[in-house]
Amino acid sequence: MKKIKKEKSVGIVKTEYYTFAYPPNELILESGEKLGPITLAYETYGRLNKDKSNAILILHALSGDAHAAGYHSLNDRKPGWWDIMIGPQKAFDTNKYFIICSNVIGGCKGSTGPNSINPKTGKPYGLSFPVITIKDMVNAQKHLIDYLGIKRLLSLAGGSMGGMQVLQWTVSYPDMCYSAIPIATAPYLSAQAIAFNEVGRQAILADPNWKNGNYYNTNKIPSKGLAIARMIGHITYLSEESMHKKFGRRLQDKDKYSYKFLTEFQVESYLHHQGDSFVKRFDANSYLYITKAMDYFDISAGYKSLVDAFKNVKAKFLVISFSSDWLFPPSQSKEIANALRKNLKDVSYVEIKSSYGHDAFLLESKQLTILIKKFLNRISKEVMGKNA
């Protein structure tokens, strides 16, 4: 048991659920298929003000969930995934703003996904779950925001796939986004990133326990495949420099080579640990579906160009990248910022110096906090007046 410092944490929080899109009003997906009913898991922190003008939507990355801040119980070892950024006096200051974090469809953390029960069959969807896109995730979240009675979000923020959702929101629902903070993201997933996703998926597909996605009622899950997928993912989230600093060539718990195929180097041990712990909290089919959604993401699809895609956005943007991120490199964030500028939108672009690679958006809190705080201060003054 621990004591949670009230001035630094949102404290004990609870995941909530909203279900909608009951047949015959299912959500029409980008693929043309229908999905419903849909449940979205979400959490909120802080208080919604009277005119509902202080709401900020946080969007999570590939393996994230609705639990962005605080603790579910006093026994929790770790707080929510973006606790360094969300809380009293933090970047997303819960004394001032009403923070919403919504899980994505296709996920396995309480929202409708391949491991949910298909009401038509009474069995888990498995591979009969339709392929979803970033746009579908956003369209589902729109129902949640409507349900919460919020007409316009003060801001939206997210890193990586969360940043893709931020961009999609501003394009799909321009009137609902007053400002936006896409972090360490891209206007489309690069060939290199698709390649890594595909290797991860193939590892899952090659696992004999995967059984074409029908493993829910067996006592074996494709844990080997999912763990390998996560290990590959983790390599792409770090940088050469951060790996060197963190592990170097050090051996784990020994100082001599064993001349056997055992886990010897610290970096190997780290990756195995990441893989093994991921398997306990994530569903392999969800990994397939969500990485596929990222692969399909191209905000300019259906438009003449990226510039054209942003023509009607109304949000004011703060685009942030990290210097050592090679999975979503600064050049891709710059592409977003330049396309917005060519439309004469209010946009600023910052490249934060960091050695943490793509993971920096989850770790590098100091500079990120200053920038987001100042940006939101100014935005909230515009919307709520001087008393904000």
Binding site: D346, S348, I352, R378
Partner: protein, 204 residues
């Protein structure tokens, strides 16, 4: 909000048409662009490298791009801005020629201001003391000055002439006893600062 605007910033403000698109290179804390947005309703963008300055721009609501102007302006298309401004920054760039030609490519008009190294007290300082000039308006020691490309007003004329650059307007200034004075005679000798509006000559 606009407590005190440096005099040359005000002069730049007077040169700019309302509602134009303005790019300020090395925009610092965004003071000039904030001022231009307020008095001339311009569409402002700044380029700045220092993160502390960028934070100030974000506070002011001045759109800013973090970039090194010595690397060129590759993100900006030809003639995409009505004005590109380089205020008191030319002498600190590593590649002034590259910066100027990039400005002329991106801006229909360019506004440049710089300290004049031909200013009389500087000449006498070097002549009589035999040391690198250190004056009120150039207060640095030779070893820690940000100014790495000193030039005179005459140098700038020659540069424009050699590179087929059109000088649209020129203003010369000196700062005496807390007041700015426009210098009309012998500017290369009497002015502390030169301010030029230039553009590329229409290709024939």
């Amino acid at each position: 909000m606009l407590k005190y605007i440096r005099y040359d910033l005000k002069l730049i403000g007077d040169l700019i048409e309302p509602n134009s698109k303005v790019l300020d290179l090395g925009c610092g804390d965004g003071t000039l662009l904030e001022y231009l947005k307020k008095i001339k309703n311009v569409i402002p963008y700044g380029v700045e490298i220092e993160i502390k300055n960028i934070e100030k721009c974000i506070t002011k609501g001045v759109p800013v791009f973090q970039s090194d102007i010595d690397e060129g302006l590759t993100d900006f298309q030809d003639n995409s801005f009505d004005y590109v401004i380089l205020s008191q920054t030319l002498q600190v760039t590593k590649k002034p020629y590259k910066v100027l030609s990039e400005m002329l490519r991106v801006g229909k008009k360019c506004i440049i201001s710089f300290p004049n190294f031909g200013y009389a007290p500087i000449r006498f300082y070097l002549l009589l003391k035999g040391k690198m000039p250190k004056l009120k308006f150039l207060p640095y020691e030779w070893y820690d000055t940000p100014n790495i490309h000193h030039l005179t007003i005459k140098d700038f004329y020659k540069f424009c002439n050699d590179h087929n650059i059109k000088i649209i307007k020129k203003i010369f200034l000196s700062y005496f006893k807390d007041k700015h004075i426009k210098i009309k005679l012998f500017p290369n000798f009497l002015a502390q600062y030169g301010l030029f509006v230039i553009s590329k000559h229409a290709t024939l």
